[in-house]
């Protein structure tokens, strides 16, 4: 029996030396999160063969690989991923990949500007897409990487990149206008988990997440109580559900505020770790961001209910 295994192991080594290339001659690009897929789609356009691992609406925490993902990864020439442990153990796998170009879009960012862990120096908040300036840097990085891979398409990628940067700039000024209608003291964002820190930093929001970054921990009873007191004290009008986190915890928070004789409404669902369904406006990065901000501004700015 052991001989058979040995044989099989040797066989697998033999096979692993073989390189396979498939596809229609285009560069095979694989991306992880929906945000990155959207970014690369905007720059690569039809010049590349783009496949996202996490389908629309799939949260990186909940992502389960399917058999088809193996083939996608095997055939990939370039892999774009977020990095900063967002994709869990997969980040480490990508970092060590030898025969493929793997690109962590977070690599381009200056680590000193990232929001770090209070406890451990080398760990950062991975939700970098909520800082539009970071996303612009990521755009340039994707343009640069794709241009290196297909030099003959360099001008196309650069034009697409420039176009997208303009769109991001427009988005930013639009959001600034919309958020400026909200008085500073009302800019308090209460959500289910700590995904919006970069958003808060960009637009001067105070961000409070009920749950930590890790999905293994759950909100403690005291956390809920403290946060409820905080909401009452600061007269926060609305709290928010995230598309990828169960409603339950936020509803518990709402109930807790209510039990203390105050009202807080659920302001709507925000997209945090994944975009909406493809084809919808929220299925793009820009649409998602606009939707989030509109939801937040509308809910927080609403006149006090009689």
């Amino acid at each position: 029996m052991k001989k058979t295994f040995l044989f099989l192991i040797i066989l697998s080594l033999f096979f692993s030396c073989k390189n396979e290339k498939k596809g229609n001659g285009k560069l095979n690009v694989v991306t992880t999160t929906t945000m990155i897929t959207d970014l690369v789609k905007n720059i690569g356009g039809n010049q590349i063969n783009l496949q996202g691992l996490m389908g629309s609406g799939v949260d990186p925490h909940l992502y389960k690989a399917s058999e088809g993902d193996v083939t996608k990864l095997v055939n990939a020439d370039v892999i774009f991923y977020n990095g900063l442990h967002l994709e869990g153990k997969l980040v480490e796998v990508f970092e060590k990949m030898k025969n493929k170009k793997t690109v962590a879009v977070s690599d381009v960012l200056d680590k000193n500007t990232l929001i770090g862990s209070d406890y451990f120096a080398s760990n950062y908040d991975p939700h970098i897409w909520f800082n539009i300036d970071y996303w612009k840097q990521a755009t340039n990085y994707v343009v640069k990487t794709l241009s290196e891979e297909i030099p003959e398409q360099k001008s196309t990628f650069e034009a697409n990149g420039k176009n997208y940067l303009n769109q991001l700039e427009t988005l930013k000024s639009k959001l600034n206008t919309s958020i400026s209608t909200l008085p500073r003291e009302q800019r308090i964002l209460v959500t289910a988990h700590d995904a919006f820190n970069y958003f808060g930093k960009s637009f001067e929001f105070e961000v409070v997440g009920l749950q930590g970054l890790s999905t293994a921990t759950e909100a403690g009873v005291q956390d809920v109580q403290n946060l409820a007191n905080f909401i009452i004290e600061k007269k926060v009008k609305a709290i928010f559900v995230e598309s990828s986190v169960p409603k339950r915890t936020i509803e518990a928070l709402q109930a807790s505020v209510k039990s203390k004789g105050h009202e807080v409404k659920i302001g709507g669902t925000l997209y945090s770790d994944a975009l909406g369904n493809t084809g919808t406006i929220e299925g793009t990065y820009i649409g998602m961001y606009e939707y989030n901000v509109n939801t937040i501004v509308e809910a927080l700015a609403a006149p006090p209910s009689r």
Partner: protein, 386 residues
């Protein structure tokens, strides 16, 4: 088939074998859920490792995970030895406690780090071929293949070296102790191997599949045989078969590989549970029905022997006298006729010489010996064979 696909099947198959061996003993010792317990209770080990190294990728984390697994086993054993609770209760007491220690440590000290079991152990078969073991410029294949392969070789080595000891201590701890090998050492050895296999296979194939591969093939094999060697062989075959067929189901459905393998394990268990030759549901139902008929036959023959009155022996009266339903009386009559135990003349039933002989023997057995003896009698009279 690409090389990655072959490697995945290879890793899954080797993990299946590595899990089936300790799994068989765990199932026999009624400790099957220990693998589930270990896959949860390794969290504090990982958290402590992270506090020491501040690095999610350090091998120390995996080492500490395996050690926490062994601690789990020792604690379970200790609680169980008090005799106050059973094995499953002891397991249920230990692992939630350890797991929650891990959760509390994260909540208190590392709430803003993405720290959980998934962040340290890969646990996804689909990515296993991409996590490679590379010695300066030489690609030696997937890392998890090496890890689980080494665990398998150690397991097989220990199995061959201590097979007799394991067998005796599993089935009769008292005898093992009197023969001079300590059942406790065997127990801890087995549990340590289970712990290491769980952590190693967790890294290669993921949490749910580890538990499924440890328990399902062994449980399925247990339905088919009483022989330990055969049970091991069956468990390994079921494990490997599910691993490979599950992979192709996943390929076909473009679904999660470990999910499909687990589904295959469940399906095989269901099939065996229904159709196993002696312990399967259908076989058991059939046997129960046969036994009922046999008992009825015996009652009927005794009734005939006790009553010489013709009215008591009239075919149409059987329903009233022995309180049978029509269908059953017909079956019993036919069976008795087929075995030449009765004669029917003008609807009056009487015992033949053979039937009379059989009945008096039956009475003898019932009076003098235990009921089990009747089983042999059936052979004498070729019941159910004619």
């Amino acid at each position: 088939m690409s090389s990655a696909q072959i490697e995945i099947q290879l890793i899954a198959s080797i993990a299946a074998i590595a899990c089936a061996i300790p799994g068989t003993f765990l199932v026999l010792r009624k400790m099957a859920m220990i693998s589930d317990a270990i896959s949860h209770s390794i969290l504090p080990g990982i958290v402590i490792g992270f506090f020491i190294t501040h690095d999610l990728n350090s091998p120390l984390l995996i080492l500490l995970a395996a050690i926490t697994g062994i601690i789990t086993v020792i604690l379970v054993e200790y609680i169980q030895k008090t005799g106050l609770v059973k094995e499953d209760t002891a397991i249920g007491l230990v692992f939630p406690a350890l797991f929650s220690i891990g959760v509390i440590m994260i909540a208190k000290n590392a709430n803003d780090v993405h720290l959980d079991v998934d962040a340290v152990l890969l646990g996804e078969l689909a990515f296993a071929p991409f996590d490679r073991f590379i010695v300066p410029d030489v690609d030696l294949g997937p890392k998890s293949l090496w890890v689980i392969g080494c665990i398998l070789i150690v397991t097989i080595g220990l199995l061959f070296a201590f097979f007799k000891e394991l067998k005796v201590s599993t089935f009769d701890a008292g005898l093992a102790a009197s023969l001079g090998f300590s059942p406790a050492i065997m127990h801890y050895g087995l549990m340590s191997i289970s712990s290491i296999t769980t952590v190693g296979a967790f890294d290669a194939v993921g949490a749910i599949l580890v538990v499924a591969l440890m328990i399902a093939p062994a449980a399925t094999a247990y339905l088919l045989t009483n022989n330990l060697k055969r049970m091991l062989a069956y468990a390994i075959s079921f494990g490997v078969f599910s691993a490979i067929s599950g992979y192709w189901v996943a390929h076909w459905l473009d679904a999660s590989i470990s999910g499909s393998i687990t589904t295959m394990l469940g399906l095989i268990f269901l099939l065996v549970y229904l159709f196993a030759p002696s312990r399967g549901i259908i076989a058991v139902l059939y046997r129960e029905k046969q036994q009922r008929t046999e008992v009825s036959l015996l009652t009927f023959l005794l009734h005939l022997k006790n009553h010489n009155e013709e009215e008591e022996r009239h075919v149409n009266h059987l329903n009233e006298h022995i309180n049978w339903q029509k269908v059953r009386s017909k079956t019993v009559l036919e069976l008795a006729l087929k075995n030449n135990m009765i004669l029917i003349e003008n609807n009056i039933v009487s015992l033949t010489e053979k039937g009379d002989d059989f009945t008096s023997q039956a009475i003898d057995y019932i009076i003098t010996n235990e009921d089990a003896e009747i089983e042999h009698m059936k052979d004498d009279f070729f019941l159910f064979r004619g």
